[in-house]
């Protein structure tokens, strides 16, 4: 039994179907990436796991079904959500942003805050700064930090590198790797940047117009010439 099992998942916005029959599994302690273009359904997939959309199919965490649960209950079971960094609370300080994440795990607030500030010392320095004044990279850190405040065993990270400088992407990758290796977090990440995703994830899924087109390890997908052309932007290889 995998840690996260997504089975026959379809998601709808009103009558429009955004995901169709998606099957994805994530093992405990693994980093899995979903790659896809704009509109492929990446964010919808994460929204569906956390209970923000109406879905058909089943999502199970450690064997327990999450389907139909309220978002608050899903977060309490250990799923943290770091949405795209545009989804912060812009006119609140870094600390207040993090504190909103601390509701479900309020007894561990101190410990989690320490973890976040240890991971991103820059946030500790700027804890009283309002997030709309921050750089993209800092905001991405706040988004990740807010998810970590919920005491997760699995975090969903939505397009962490979108629009960020390469150097900052490396920082984010380092942080995610550290969370995975030192803190044992299972991570499901969505990306348009396939190279970034491959450097991180042990397993990847390609999502196109709401369906999983292809799945495999980084090596397997990297070797596929068609995919290389479509997603990796470099058909000649290094």
């Amino acid at each position: 039994m995998a840690f996260l099992e997504i089975e026959g998942l379809s998601a709808y916005y009103g009558k429009a179907r955004a995901l169709h029959n998606v099957d994805i599994t994530v093992e405990k302690g693994e980093i899995v990436a979903i790659i896809g273009a704009n509109g492929a359904g990446k964010s919808t997939l994460l929204d569906s796991i956390i209970g923000l959309t109406s879905i058909r199919g089943d999502v199970r965490l450690d064997g327990d079904s999450l389907t139909g649960l309220a978002s608050s209950a899903i977060v309490e079971r250990g799923v943290g959500y770091a949405p795209e960094r545009f989804n912060l609370f812009p006119y609140m300080s870094v600390l207040d942003n993090l504190m909103v994440g601390a509701y479900t795990a309020r007894h561990d607030t101190e410990r989690n805050l320490e973890l976040v500030f240890d991971l991103f010392p820059r946030l500790a320095e700027r804890r009283n700064q309002e997030t709309y004044t921050q750089s993209g990279g800092e905001r991405q850190m706040v988004s990740l930090g807010r998810a970590l405040m919920t005491n997760p065993s699995l975090i969903l990270v939505d397009e962490p590198t979108i629009g960020l400088a390469p150097k900052v992407c490396l920082d984010i990758a380092a942080a995610l790797n550290r969370l995975n290796q030192e803190n044992g977090l299972t991570i499901l990440i969505t990306e348009q940047n396939a190279n970034f995703a491959m450097s991180l994830a042990s397993h990847l899924h390609i999502l196109e117009t709401g369906e999983v087109r292809m799945s495999g390890s980084a090596e397997e997908l990297g070797a596929n010439p068609e995919l290389k052309k479509a997603y990796f932007g470099n058909t000649h290889g290094p």
Partner: protein, 318 residues
């Protein structure tokens, strides 16, 4: 966030200053301040709901009206003591707040605002049509028992009520609840994604706002001694509340207080010059200019001004 001793000191200075005020100003000014106190209560109530969560209420007079009418009817028609009619009025307003809340589960933005406006209009009509023998119909009720007499006593009463409301709301909004409500106003989905039950939080906000509005409305009717639907369920009254909250600085407690005093005195001092409703144009204009210059309101302007003075001093000192 966090409460610092400077904050508490500022509260103490403000309260002492206000309590000493009757020694220095005329009875007429006190009467103006009484109205400002009540307007501040209403504006704080509006701000807790709309300034924080972004659910813009156009129906606040509905909540205030339930409080005022319930207490007036209970005490005037049925002989309830005020000590009982006011708490009951607050409960009634909170029930009204729950009604308010139902559309908020499904709709947001301008639609929510319009629905709440409909609540106010509905109440205006109902009060006149249904059982006018109880509500007093179009003419309302006069001769409602007052709690105390005289400008000075009423000043103390209204100020204590306002200070109590403001201080307790300030404490409440400094808590996790306040942070969460503001977060809802900025991005409700994200609040849900962080594991918070936004339905419960919004219900709490509606209840708190209704509690304060009902309390203010009930005390207000026992200050005025009369109530009439035209004065209460009125678009000018509604906008005075909203503009007070916004002009002072939404999402703060001091903002609506500043706004209420500013507006009340502005309207009062314009009275000899512009006796009619033209006065409302003036404050509309002031509100417009202020929003264009600083959407966060007078409080922010003052804060930045103070910051500049400090910076200039520091510059001169070095």
């Amino acid at each position: 966030m966090g409460i610092r001793w400077q904050h508490l000191a500022a509260w103490a200075v403000f309260i002492i200053f206000m309590l000493a005020l009757p020694e220095f100003v005329s009875k007429g000014t006190l009467r103006t301040i009484i109205f400002a106190n009540f307007l501040a209560i209403f504006a704080i109530s509006w701000d807790v709901l709309s300034g924080r969560t972004g659910y813009i209420s156009f129906g606040h007079p509905f909540l205030i009206g339930i409080g005022a009418y319930t207490s007036a009817i209970l005490s005037y028609r049925f002989g309830f003591p005020i000590a009982l009619s006011i708490p009951l009025a607050v409960v009634a307003a909170m029930i009204g707040g729950t009604l308010f809340f139902l559309p908020a589960l499904r709709i947001r933005g301008s639609y929510f605002a319009l629905v709440t406006l409909a609540f106010m209009e509905l109440m205006y009509q109902l009060v006149q049509v249904i059982r006018p023998d109880i509500t007093g119909g179009t003419r309302g009720i006069s001769g409602v028992e007052t709690i105390t007499r005289g400008a000075v006593n009423n000043f103390y009463l209204s100020f204590c009520l306002m200070a109590l409301v403001a201080f307790s709301m300030w404490l409440l909004m400094k808590s996790r609840l306040g942070t969460a409500l503001s977060a809802i106003g900025m991005n409700e989905e994200s609040v849900r994604g962080s594991g918070l039950d936004t339905t419960k939080l919004k219900l709490a906000a509606f209840m708190i706002a209704a509690f304060v509005a009902g309390l203010g409305g009930a005390f207000y009717v026992h200050y005025l001694g009369s109530i009439a639907p035209r004065a209460l369920f009125d678009i000018n009254f509604l906008f005075t509340i909203i503009v007070a909250a916004l002009i002072g600085g939404a999402s703060t407690i001091i903002g609506p207080m500043i706004g209420a005093f500013f507006l009340t005195f502005l309207l009062e001092y314009l009275r000899p010059v512009l006796p009619g409703a033209e006065r409302y144009f003036i404050y509309g204009g002031i509100a417009l200019i202020l929003y264009m210059y600083q959407p966060k309101g007078i409080y922010e302007v003052a804060k930045q001004g103070w910051g500049r003075i400090q910076a200039a001093r520091a510059g001169a000192g070095s």
